[in-house]
Amino acid sequence: MNNPRAQRLVVGIDTGGTFTDIVATLGKQSFRFKLLSTPHDPAVAVIEGLRRLFPDHSPDTLTYGTTVATNAMLQRHGARTALVTTEGFEDVIEIGRQARSSLYSLEPCNPPALVPRRLRIGLPERMLVDGTVEVAPDVAALARLRKRVEQARVRSIAVCLLHAGSNPAHEKAAREALKPLGLPVTVSHTLSPEPGEYERTSTTVANAYVRPLMEEHIGKLRRESGARQFRVMQSNSGCIGAAVSAREPIRTMLSGPAGGVAAALACLRRAEIRRAITFDMGGTSTDVALLGADLPRRASTRVGSIPIRTPCLDIHTVGAGGGSIAYVDAGGSLKVGPQSAGADPGPACYGNGASPTVTDANLVLGRLRRGFFLGGGMTLDMACAESALNGLACKAKTGDAWTTAAGIIEVVEANMEQAVRLITVERGEDPRDCTLVCFGGAAALHGCGLAEKLGLREILVPADPGLLSARGMMDGVLVRDLRVPVRAQDPSLGRLQRITNSSRHAAERALRAEGIKTADIRTEVFVSLRYLGQSIEIEVPLARGFRAAFDRAHLRLLHSSDPGRSVECCGARVTATERRSTLRPRTAATSAVADLARPKLRTGGARGLPPTRRAPRHCKPEPVEQAQVHVGGRKRRVPVFKREGLLPGYERSEPAVIVEYSSTILLDEGWNLWVDADTNLRLERSARG
């Protein structure tokens, strides 16, 4: 070994509801570690994990995926926040879009606003839609505002005024007036300048609401980890420095899932796969996303019922996972989810609950192996699972536990199928030429079933699917996304470039402030266009021919286009990206888990191999057991392998169950398996299928 002082320690950490996952590289060594999260203070598990893994090292770079901001919003334990609005519009945050969340509800109820009425303060001012000042806030009004906010005894302030995107002067004046209070002020025009007052207000308020908590949390982690570079994963799957993430915590709402999708994309690129659907199935929910040449993006998301407008990955969440409960409804139909048994009481086979879940169905069907769950760290109770399923079988009139279990699997996979179809329809894509990428604890059990329903022919299961998000953190690059308000009819390329120029510089400056050299920064500009009078927006890269690119995209997404028609530009996005992670050697990624997960696999052997198939080398894995498993629609005796034993080049065309620490993989009938150079499991539909 080299002198450890000369080696860089690069760490990725993903904190989830149940587990905190850590992956790291120190020189050529790789590490992985899973420990229970500490929800009361997530920093405790992070620091504990780092100390146990690296008692003598401080990370050179630590990238962190966090649910702190999301949980603070969902559990409503953010800071007491004041909201400053245009006078007359104090209740926009409460009215929302006037819609109720559920159509058929005897007593509809929308959750209360994050800022109660008494903490909303109207400022006498008015900006017009074109940025003209109609009424400027005068000195006396601003002084009164300061006094009222002071009396409100809040820890954070949100300012969102009408048409601030067209002209932010009044928001700036309010910020100046509030400065003496020494409180964090979030102004809407820097976070979300686009029109649409409710979404902008809710975004601004959410940011202000979680900001004090996030500043404290990030500050503590940064101090106690001793990391020289501390970064946080954003919802757009780019990282950002500690200071920005603490100031704009709203950008981290999809931190964890974004890390997973980013890591999946990296896997796909090395495997030279162009189009894929990610399938990340956990205990209570499943995230799916459509990957093309680049990451799928969208301009907004929701946390609970609250819309958040910030650049993020286009990830669709389905309320179905391993813990989803199956039942029969009044019309006699077998339903699965959205209620979940969670971790407590958990699926019936955990021994505490009586409700049949997807996990119980997998256990009864032999697809989940009781002796190998979490590497044998947890035993599953087959009798409890069978009794829960027999109970359901009576109600469903489906006969026995086995038949009912197979039905549950079919139904849950059909739910996933509909979800994937919806995202592909929305994006005007055909799913059939995509590869399905399975990660998260439960996805690889359902990969074959889902792929068949969607007509997909290829599946990829990356190494250590349960730790993929943390891997995404470790590999993350810095990204700064800025929105630019634009409103222009048939704009020229030059005009749009002029309008976005200062934001371009600002984004680049932000990356330089994180220590990135100008040469290592790539900046792109995207514009949102629509036909004049239309109300959809389509984003295209700002480059020569951007107008034609819009017409093409419109045709693909909306089945019509009209190149002769006027277009309107209604916003732009500037993205500065660190060119390539220079944090650690290129090959480390391929061997990241090798040392701990597969001690027998020499990392040198995998390095540098082309991602194509090669002749099988000497690899005859011994099954750890034989089992009766539901494959190809019937019960069959199939072998169970440990994944560590399946070396690159290994091929198999008969059904099998493959177990590993963080997941279980079902190789169903009609599918062929091979292991690629990166130790990804590659499943292909056999020709006759």
């Binding site: 926009v92 006037q98 109720r100 007593e107 009139k397 509909q418 919806l422 909306l558």
Partner: protein, 544 residues
Amino acid sequence: MATRAKNHPVSGKPKGKTSAKGFDAIDLELFNSRLIAVAAEMGTVLRQAGFSPNIKERRDYSCAVFDGAGEMVSHAAHIPVHVGSTPLSVRAAIDAVDMGAGDIVILNDPYAGGTHLPDVTLVAPVFLSSAAKMGARPFAYVANRAHHADIGGAGPGSMPLSTDIHAEGLRMPPVLLQRGEEMVTETLTLFLANTRVTDERRGDLDAQIAALRTGTKRVTSLVESFGEDKITAAMRELQAYTRRMITDVIARIPEGRWAAEDFLDGDGIKQGRIRIAVALEVGRGRLIVDFDGSAAQVTGPLNANRAITTSAVFYVLGLLGGGTMPANAGMLDAVDLRLPGDSVVNCSFPAAVAGGNVETSQRIVDVLLAALAPALPEKIPAASCGSMNNVAIGGFDTLRRRQFSYYETIGGGAGAGPSGHGASAVQTHMTNTLNTPVEMLEAYYPMKVICYRVRRGSGGKGRHRGGEGIDREIEMLEPAQLTLLTERRETEPWGLQGGGPGKRGRNVLVRGGKSVKLPGKTTLALERGDRIRVQTPGGGGFGK
């Protein structure tokens, strides 16, 4: 290529008794979700491709799939008032036009399957490629309905204070809009010539067409994957499933006769309240809904046709079922709907109907809930706002050099119920459209919003307080014509079990610094600088 051969993976026949021929609980769920997904996907395409704020922002549309006999199979739940009425549109289209492959029928006639004129319905047949030969009947139909912001007539927004249907806009009986995937230019030209904002209309029609094409494709591919017989059976099964769900809902209502009455403020033309009465008879798994005693059809535009009343009845059953049952032809099989002829709940040609869809439908829901309240005291909430508070403003925009037509419904307070306070500032019951954001409104129309607030103190008092209404004030930057169709300006949304009523709504014109109270229903020429303030009703309170 069939992407999937097996229906469900169980080897052999299921051992237990199946719930229907060849369909067990598993099949039922699988095919239900597939058929419902077709309607949902059509909705996604329509929203994506929609042109006007009314479709993109407010989502005032719905999509549905029908079987070969024209019976509804699945409906994407967007707007409750469309649920019972879309089937009648499809029926009318089938009866009037002999549709071939690639054809699309357009219609909006309330006396031939429509509700009110702005709701434009498109219907397309689905032919299987194997049966594409001449003379074959369609395997299925797909349809969608979108509320167009203007369809001509006496007032911008096509919601005038009319006294017959002809004043309300262009009336289209079922006619071909496309023949063999080619636009029928005559129909399109005639349609566009009779609306105020033609570009927007054209764009929204294109979106409706794109959604139908998606629906056709998805139904066809389901048949390719599973076979014609299986999908035909699945469609029947889905209807039977809803029938069982409805029967279950009815079984939970205590047997007996439950009656109630409530009133509309007036029709906007003649003085006097309009009575709506209902008696529910529950027994032996069936429900009789009898509107006998309701007022005769009125002069003003407050008449509801059978389609609208049917929608309201289904909506209330859906409420009792918690919203879990798919909307389709099975829903009224266990219900016997008795509607007096030529009445305000079942009007005849040429009665004016513009407000029946949006206002009378709300009162029908109120009266149905009032009848159920003593039967299900632990479930039924107090009356909600009871109006969609329709505001239509139109004129010529000199700055943008174009005609404009703005239409919006404003939410109010929801009634309090046994479990808690009523929600404030929401759309209630028969609609759930989104608002037009202030910043969008000011970018599109020559108007400025002065205030948009929760109307404090408007909820009914009680152990649980009724939700509060909305206070919205708009200033005109151009002269324009205004139509207000609002309710609960004279009667109050009632409380329950000792709870107080919600506050009545109020409409005010501010001109030259002076405020003048406006009637609940009115048409008015606005001058530049005029302000219209609409204060919507609160919900009733619950309990002492």
